[in-house]
């Protein structure tokens, strides 16, 4: 039976009406096959406009509607909802875009624009004629969350979700959670004691019955889709049994290995068995297999022989035979909180980094400020342990340098440099702190005041110019720079130089992003769906982003973003099931030859070969209706529901016949 069709043409104020003759278009539309009602109205999306559509559907018993207006991205939902509210299946309403694709681009030719509008309406009517009434698809929802990365971003997101009543697993690559925040001494803009703040949060995580932490772990494989992810977790052995270990530290004394301690940025050394950081929460030693002589090549001198720590342990807590384990976790949502690394100072040979011991990066300086750090909180220079009297802090190192390094601003360094310089001045009263800067970016609450106070009361000497080079001079370092404000070339003598290195995404992020099916930008930061409106959503549904893995930022912004992901996930979990659009691919069982081309082409991994029927199935929850498989299938076995090839061809045919007419 032929459908009774209605056409509603919107003026969009003058946006459409000034270049499309809406009366003429309505009259023409009324003449088209199957149309029982056609009219125009000034603002169809307004309440009275929607009422008009609803009333007409009821009065005339319409079973197909075309609203000719702006882009479907604007109001498709609005009108489909309206139609649904009076009992017409929403999918029998379609939008004919006569604004972006017609009136806006043909402003000087009303007759032609009007003819084009009518042909767009005709094409859309022909589509509606073959549209099927559809129901939304429901998808199961596992209300558990996996957080990848246990820095402050991961910790805060996990705590919020766990407190809301959901089970959370944290996957942390390192032997302890905390991330870079555990290396930081005090924070701007109020000199809060960071280890204290962090310990509180880590204790909360460890005590929370709903949070499970996998340390030494990474994602091995990710399967599934929004609401139903299956994460396989690969865990490196800990070797030390935390149930037996009393943290006496005897093993630490006997280990013959000495390597640079990464946590202290090479300012101290550690054994192959060591305490990962100075926090109370990481008292139990960890053993790094790569450094341990026991695991060295068996044909080398030491290979397989050393068992010093095992022998020394009075509790028998060390077992060098432990092997790596795999675990699976089923979750409905994932938070990517993988954080950052500092761009390696060795990329800056002109600053002597890596060669001159008294040129250090900013994280190393944080370690010097930590009362539990390698110098017990004393700022001492690495070369001879003397108190540096002249310290030069260089900002933007590796940042804002599109020619050779990173084009972006690393956002936290202006502020932490001011903080470090102030802490240095508070400790070394007779010392001078110089800060080489290009701009001071202090754009958050109380940040500007914090910097100004440093200049006014702690006499930080800000010198505006980018440093050309640092060399070893006579008994001190020489920093060659300029002061663009006075127009001079400047040389500063220094005892210690601190580089505020750029932040860059964590090592291994490219491989991880591929595994998680999320996109990254040109600098390898994780990409959000929309910088303004969907800032914590990744390109894959159900995967969210928080912290410095998405872009460089300070703790304040990291935590805000982490809490936003928790909020988003709670919104998702407030339903019992997920709802998906039914406008997806379908397969004609009798035509599909099982060639599998669609499986390779689908960018969302929605196609899967059915082992029994040897026909390629569509995973309804994952398919985004992009149409790639439809174009790729050599047998024409796939179609997009309500956008079939037949419908498209008819629409194109309508355009073709009309374009001859005009």
């Amino acid at each position: 039976m032929e459908k009774k069709l209605g056409v509603f043409i919107c003026w969009c104020g003058s946006n459409i009406a000034s270049s499309v003759d809406v009366d003429k278009a309505a009259a023409e539309a009324a003449k088209l096959d199957g149309v029982v009602h056609a009219e125009n109205y000034m603002y169809m999306c307004s309440d009275p406009g929607q009422q008009l559509v609803k009333d007409t559907i009821t009065e005339k018993g319409l079973d197909g509607v075309v609203v000719a207006c702006c882009s479907p991205r604007m109001h498709e939902n609005t009108f489909r909802k309206a139609a649904g509210s009076v009992g017409l299946n929403s999918y029998l309403l379609e939008i004919a875009n006569i604004r972006e694709q017609c009136s806006w681009v043909h402003q000087n030719n009303k007759p032609l624009a009007t003819a084009k509008a009518v042909s767009i309406i005709e094409g859309t009517l022909d589509k509606v004629k073959e549209n099927l009434p559809l129901e939304t698809i429901t998808i199961d929802l596992t209300k558990r969350v996996c957080v990848v990365g246990g820095g402050i971003a991961g910790i805060m997101s996990a705590l919020d979700l766990a407190n809301a009543g959901y089970d959370v697993v944290i996957i942390e690559r390192e032997p302890a959670i905390g991330g870079h925040m555990s290396q930081i001494s005090q924070t701007f803009p109020y000199f809060h004691n960071v280890p204290e703040l962090l310990k509180k949060k880590i204790d909360e995580v460890n005590a929370h019955p709903r949070i499970k932490v996998y340390v030494n772990s990474e994602v091995d494989v990710l399967d599934g889709y929004v609401g139903n992810f299956n994460v396989t977790i690969k865990t490196r052995p800990a070797f030390v049994d935390s149930a037996k270990c009393t943290a006496c530290g005897k093993c630490l004394e006997v280990c013959p290995v000495k390597v640079d301690d990464e946590f202290n940025r090479g300012l101290s050394q550690r054994g192959a068995i060591f305490r990962y950081n100075q926090l109370e929460t990481a008292k139990i030693p960890v053993l790094e297999q790569g450094d341990c002589l026991h695991f060295a090549d068996s044909d080398s001198e030491d290979g397989g022989k050393c068992t010093a720590c095992v022998d020394a342990c009075p509790e028998d807590a060390i077992d060098l035979g432990t092997i790596r384990s795999l675990n699976e976790e089923f979750v409905g949502a994932i938070v990517m909180a993988t954080g950052y690394d500092l761009y390696s100072p060795t990329n800056m040979p002109e600053y002597g980094a890596g060669k001159i011991p008294d040129v250090i990066d900013a994280l190393a300086f944080e370690r010097l400020l930590d009362p539990k750090g390698p110098t017990k909180g004393q700022v001492l220079r690495p070369s001879d342990g003397a108190v540096p009297k002249k310290v030069v802090f260089i900002q933007c190192v590796g940042s804002r340098d599109p020619e050779r390094h990173k084009a972006y601003c690393s956002r936290a360094c202006c502020m932490y440099t001011a903080k470090q310089a102030r802490l240095y001045r508070q400790q070394v009263e007779e010392g001078t702190a110089y800060i080489s800067y290009m701009d001071i970016r202090s754009d958050s609450k109380d940040f500007e005041e914090f910097v100004q106070k440093g200049m006014e009361e702690e006499n930080l000497v800000y010198i505006r110019g980018r440093v050309a080079k640092v060399i070893e001079g006579d008994g001190c370092l020489q920093v060659f720079t300029s002061d663009t404000l006075s127009g001079r070339q400047v040389v500063i003598e220094a005892d210690l130089v601190v580089l505020a290195m750029a932040m860059e995404p964590k090592a291994g992020i490219r491989e991880l992003a591929k595994k998680m099916n999320v996109t990254i930008d040109g600098d390898a930061f994780l990409s959000e769906t929309h910088i303004k409106l969907y800032p914590v959503e990744s390109s894959t549904k159900g995967v969210y982003l928080a912290g410095c893995g998405q872009s460089p930022k300070d703790i304040t912004d990291t935590v805000s973003q982490a809490l936003a992901t928790a909020g988003k996930i709670q919104t998702m979990f407030s339903n019992e099931t997920l709802i998906a659009d039914p406008l997806i691919a379908e397969v004609k069982d009798d035509v599909c030859s099982g060639c599998g081309i669609c499986i390779e082409i689908c960018p969302y991994g929605a196609r899967l070969m059915n082992e029994f029927t040897r026909i390629s199935d569509v995973n309804q929850a994952v398919c985004q209706g992009c149409g790639a498989c439809i174009a790729a299938c050599p047998n024409k076995a796939c179609e997009l529901i309500n956008s079939t090839s037949r419908q498209f061809l008819r629409t194109i045919g309508d355009f073709a016949s009309r374009s001859e007419a005009v």
């Binding site: 002109e350 933007c396 804002r400 340098d401 599109p402 020619e403 050779r404 390094h405 290009m438 505006r464 110019g465 980018r466 440093v467 050309a468 080079k469 060659f480 720079t481 300029s482 002061d483 663009t484 127009g487 001079r488 070339q489 400047v490």
Partner: protein, 138 residues
């Protein structure tokens, strides 16, 4: 001293000509000062290399045309090697010299034998080199 900055200045023929000859976009420069920090000739300059670029950005033609810096520049290209934005100041300096010479006229073309040994010892090399340049129509 008050300086008036106008559209006609910022877009002046002179500025456009320097841009054209050097092939450099002055507005790439964000005034970080790295060029000035590393330039070996600054001691004898009246404007820092970064200031030359700044003056060009503002279209301060007279100051740029009469600066000593362009004659002192050793064309060592240290500034270009260090510039985070890829600005080649040595090319800008060269185009300033070329423009200056074109302005003076063909008589400025030099013959080395016209100068005393003593003068040659004192004269900036870069000025002598520029003196040998071919002349092009303005």
């Amino acid at each position: 001293m008050k300086t008036v900055i106008s559209h006609s200045q910022v877009k002046s023929d002179f500025v456009e000509k320097v841009a054209e000859i050097s092939g450099e976009n002055f507005f790439n420069c964000y005034q970080c000062g790295n060029c000035s920090a590393g330039c070996p000739s600054v001691d004898e300059m009246d404007l820092l290399p970064s200031q030359v670029v700044r003056y060009l950005q503002l279209g301060l033609e007279d100051e740029v045309k009469n600066c000593k810096s362009m004659w002192v520049c050793a064309a060592c290209m240290m500034c270009h090697a260090r510039c985070p934005k890829g600005v080649d100041i040595s090319k800008i300096m060269e185009s300033l010299r070329v423009l200056k010479l074109r302005e003076v006229n063909a008589e400025a073309h030099i013959d080395i034998t016209d100068f005393s040994d003593d003068y040659l010892k004192r004269a900036p090399q870069i000025a002598m080199i520029s003196g040998y340049r071919k002349f092009l129509p303005l």
